[in-house]
Amino acid sequence: MKKAAESPVPSSQALPARSLLAGLWAMAASVAVFFGPDLAQAYELGDQDWEPPVWVASAAGHWRTLTRGVGVGMLSQSLGEFRDDFYGSFPVIGHVAAPVPTRPEIVEPELLAAAEPPAVDTLAGSGEEASGQSAPAEASANAETPAPPPSREVAQLDERFRPTRVLVVGASSIQFELGRELEHAFEAMQDVQVMRFGRHSSGLSRPDYFDWMEKSRELVAEFNPDLVIAQVGGNDCQGMTNEDQSVRARWDDTDAWIQAYGERVEQFIQIYQDGGAQVVILGMPIMRATSYRAKMERLNDVTRRASDARDAWYISTWEMTSDEDGEYAERIELDGTSRAFRADDGTHLSLHGAIYVTRELVRILGERYRFVPAAEAE
């Protein structure tokens, strides 16, 4: 088992300093040519840690055009996409699912109106009013005291839409924790088919990285959903590109960015609506890092207004992930136990945070949509 130390294997040839320097700079130049488009785009969009001068951004744009013109950009982009697909193709295994509550938070407004008038305020209001305004601890208490099952009479009177094909889409939150819990929750409903598609690091800002419009059309054609629940935006606080990699709007050009992003959210929603689906947009939760939080506020605001414009239902997750003072909540009381609410990065939800938010969302969705737990129907 004895191995040689990790010491440099002596090279037999020394180089004159000029040859060394010429070679090193040539290597750097070859890398710059090959990866220049990526690097130039980052500078051009203002996504570097430092704010480049205007002439740097301008030069970067010319450089990108030039490299794209000779096909290098396309080659590096294609290879990059292949690499991302490869790394993204590995499934997650070893997941042990949480038991689904035998009675989820589907509350019949009519029934409650007759029996418990005060409860109607929180459950029968608009989506905006009910979208997670309750403090986490209160909601947790609600989760532990499920409402009684609907009577036959109430079920007959119920005019809420009953989705049968639910599509859950979004970025990493949907690919991982929240998406998994939502999928699990809807799978437990009677006569509901669920499809989930999540793509980490993606969003609506950068179709040159991942084209959500194209993917959405594919998903509509493949699954024909009647309800779409989407959460994108976590990676969108950056400069926007078009599909051809040209710059649509820089992040620091606030007005242009708001205009462009709003249009893109509307376009995204419209694809699903044209396919006959109702659309629910989940806002982004509060973030631990204050700088990121401020960016999310802008993004959520634009998303909410675009959703309203397209008559989609925007549900805020900001308040349901905040503490009583409206600040970032570190922990959550779930089923009587204090749990970490968020993942280590202060961005994503923890497993228990996802379970909690899923219960809240199912409860809120129950205002407009009728889901019947399969276990209960049996």
């Binding site: 440099p8 002596p10 090279s11 040839q13 090193l24 970490a340 923890s350």
Partner: protein, 473 residues
């Protein structure tokens, strides 16, 4: 500034370029390198530069007053030790000491009334403080040349390629390199480029896979993960730490070699170790050697009887734990390794007493030794990485409960773990092949070959970013 960022690449290219352009004017080269090091360190915090300057001047001054033939040498060594330990202790351990003291006093209803200080831990202070101690003691023992030039000593302390996370260099290894005239040719360029590519592969690809796929989160919030995910994360983090730290060392040694400097090895494929003693001879070697020379030997080593040797091993690793950080998790981690080292020495002594050849191992014994050593290293990493003991205990508890609700793990981690273990075995032959292949080309083809390899490495890098795990120490 990360070591794979375009900013750092540009910085290092400029440094290497001016370094060679200034040759053979050695003083000009060294002044330039010192200014570059100061600028680099100042990017973290300019106040850190001031502290490093104080440490440098004090250790240099003391170094002029110690030596085997000087009568007051021992007194100055004590002053040097006190200075370096106080500097390190104040910035790194003051609040830990205060909290622990309050905890003990609180048991009897008392309080220390020591203030809570908001201290920024200067990056690399553990490394340069230990280097200062080593220099003073080595000069006192006659094991290192004395640096009469403040310029040389400043580079010895502040050379940016070893400042942040080592390797911990000794005066006898580095000062003669500074004193030597500038070489007419750049030596071992193929070896340097091989080290750079090795470092990029370990850090930018393997370590990034682990850091980008939930391994760290499992240690922070273990209640989110299933037992299977926790086991995979434990092994994954063990591999990641090696890839991150060893990859960083490879990069720094490679860059240094481009300028003609040889920095010492820090890793020798530690995960092929078949016992815990073997592991510590292979892991973070410049630090292990420091502990051996300045803790274990001064305590008496193995020359004061067996029981004392076991105690000395334990104490050495106890210090090792404390050095890593002011937390009970690190102390427990170091202590467990100390007990394991003492126990291994006890077993070795027993075998020697029976007349067995401890150098010879049967394949079965070797395999068993490898497995138990690797498992010990992995399991103790839980104390090393979790933020507190409660979280560590939660981690352990959930690892053995197959029914707990929790997230799974990304299967990408499995091939990454296999690759991380495989490089322990195939790394040296691949590296040797690379250097020989490079040398077989003429100069132009050599750089074309290297450019192609570099582009391939950059192409297959995943999105995550390696963690610079040892900056915090």
């Amino acid at each position: 500034m990360t070591f794979e960022s375009s900013g750092f690449v540009l910085f290092i290219l400029l440094v290497v370029t001016f370094w060679w352009l200034l040759a053979p004017r050695r003083v000009a080269q060294k002044v330039f390198l010192l200014l570059a090091s100061i600028w680099f360190y100042g990017q973290f915090n300019w106040m850190f530069v001031g502290l490093l300057a104080v440490s440098t001047v004090v250790n240099w001054f003391i170094g002029l007053r110690v030596g085997p033939s000087l009568t007051s040498s021992l007194t100055w060594v004590r002053i040097g030790l006190a200075f370096n330990l106080l500097l390190l202790g104040f910035f790194k351990y003051f609040n830990f000491f205060r909290d622990s003291l309050d905890g003990v006093l609180g048991l009897v209803g008392l309080q220390s009334h020591l203030p809570v200080l908001t201290l920024l831990l200067p990056v690399g202070i553990s490394f340069y403080s230990f280097q200062g101690i080593a220099y003073v003691v080595d000069v006192h023992r006659g094991q290192s040349p004395r640096a009469t030039s403040l310029l040389d000593f400043s580079l010895f302390m502040g050379f940016f390629l070893k400042l942040l996370s080592g390797p911990i260099i000794r005066g006898r290894d580095f000062l003669p390199q500074l004193a030597a005239p500038s070489p007419p040719l750049a030596p071992d360029v193929s070896s340097a480029v091989g080290l750079l590519f090795s470092g990029l592969f370990k850090r930018m690809i393997l370590a990034s896979i682990f850091s980008g796929h939930g391994v760290h989160e499992a240690f922070s919030v273990p209640e989110n993960y299933s037992a299977a995910a926790l086991w995979v994360s434990m092994v994954g983090y063990t591999i990641e730490l090696y890839c991150d730290f060893s990859g960083y060392t490879d990069l720094m040694r490679g860059f240094a070699l481009l300028m003609g400097f040889r920095l010492p090895d820090n890793f020798n494929h530690p995960y092929i170790a078949t016992n815990v003693g073997d592991f510590w001879r292979r892991w973070h070697m410049t630090f292990s050697n420091w502990l051996r020379d300045f803790i274990y030997f001064p305590l008496g080593g193995s020359k004061k009887g067996r029981a004392r040797a076991y105690f000395n091993l334990f104490m050495t690793m106890f210090v090792c734990g404390i050095w890593h950080g002011a937390s009970w998790g690190f102390i427990l981690w170091g202590s467990i390794h100390g007990v394991a080292l003492a126990f291994h020495k006890f077993l070795t002594d027993l075998r020697r007493d029976r007349g067995e050849d401890t150098g010879q191992q049967s394949p079965a014994r070797e395999t068993f030794g490898w497995l138990t050593t690797f498992l010990l290293v992995c399991l103790t990493r839980i104390f090393f990485r979790t933020p507190d003991l409660d979280t560590a205990l939660t981690y352990f508890r959930r690892m053995f409960d197959l029914t707990v609700v929790g997230d799974g793990f990304d299967t990408l981690l499995l091939p990454a773990i296999v690759a991380g273990l495989a490089i322990q075995y195939v790394g040296p032959p691949v590296y040797g092949w690379f250097v020989r292949a490079s040398d077989s080309f003429d100069v132009r083809k050599r750089f074309v070959f290297w450019s192609v390899v570099l582009i391939l490495l950059l192409l297959i890098r995943p999105g995550g970013q390696s963690a610079n795990a040892y900056f915090g120490f």
